[in-house]
């Protein structure tokens, strides 16, 4: 798996987005276009971000999460994430995202939460 790009895994009405190793401005450039396309073509009620390969995230990642959160909240859907390491958890916390987006340890927990 290429760890510099996003990979998308549709799971029924859920969309799992596997995030790159470095979630910065450079690597976030195409995400918006790609997810908007997927969201318009599929009926998605939950976006699940996979941070298990991500070692670094900055405010660009916060922007991506927040924008997806607003998008999904607007249509009654949800955004959750799993696999966040220490640096990512710190950024989520300081950025105030931890309150909005539920964080899980495993993919299974993220898929089955209600």
């Amino acid at each position: 798996m290429n760890t510099n790009t996003f990979t998308y895994e549709p799971r029924g009405q859920m969309l799992v987005i596997h995030l790159p190793k470095e979630l910065d401005h450079h690597n976030c450039r195409n995400l918006r276009y790609e997810t908007d396309l997927l969201l318009s073509e599929n009926y998605i009620t939950r976006i699940i971000f996979d941070f298990s390969q991500t070692e670094f995230m900055d405010s660009s990642g916060i922007g991506v999460l927040l924008n997806r959160y607003k998008q999904m909240a607007g249509s009654g859907g949800s955004v959750v994430l799993y696999g966040a390491g220490a640096q990512v958890r710190r950024i989520l916390h300081v950025g105030g995202l931890a309150r909005l987006v539920p964080c899980f340890e495993t993919k299974e927990a993220a898929l089955t939460c209600s």
Partner: protein
Amino acid sequence: MEQERKCAMEGEGMEQERRRDGKNGEMLGTDGFQMEMEGFSRNEEFARVVVAVFMSRMNPTLEELDDVKTAVSEAVTNAVIHGYQNQGGKVGIACSIAGNELTVTVWDQGRGIADLKKAMEPMYTTDRSGERSGMGFSFMEAFMDHLEVESCPGKGTTVRMKKRIGG
């Protein structure tokens, strides 16, 4: 005059005090480096890594390394996106160590910031794409001990940050 000097946006010089230690001939005084790179987004990671490698001589904890990498990423990304509007331009980075304090300076010669006070408020962004949330300066402030920004519309922006490493 003072204003003119501030607007010159010179990179912070490495005015080092070069004294020799009588015993082993090691250099004393401020240790540091200065570099300039093209403000392309692919260089953002490069900038983080260079600063992380440089500061590793201070024996930082992983958390301290992450904090500095995040702050550098914010400052460099701002130069690339806002300073140069993704069109490229020179981004300068200088690091120095004095005792247990690391100083990182990031500068650009881009469009500059008209209202600095407002720009530094949490959640303030001039981005219209909806993909940015105005957290950059807040992160620099949260993860470093000291943050200082100078900017001049049309001339550029300099961000200077300090952090004590290891206590």
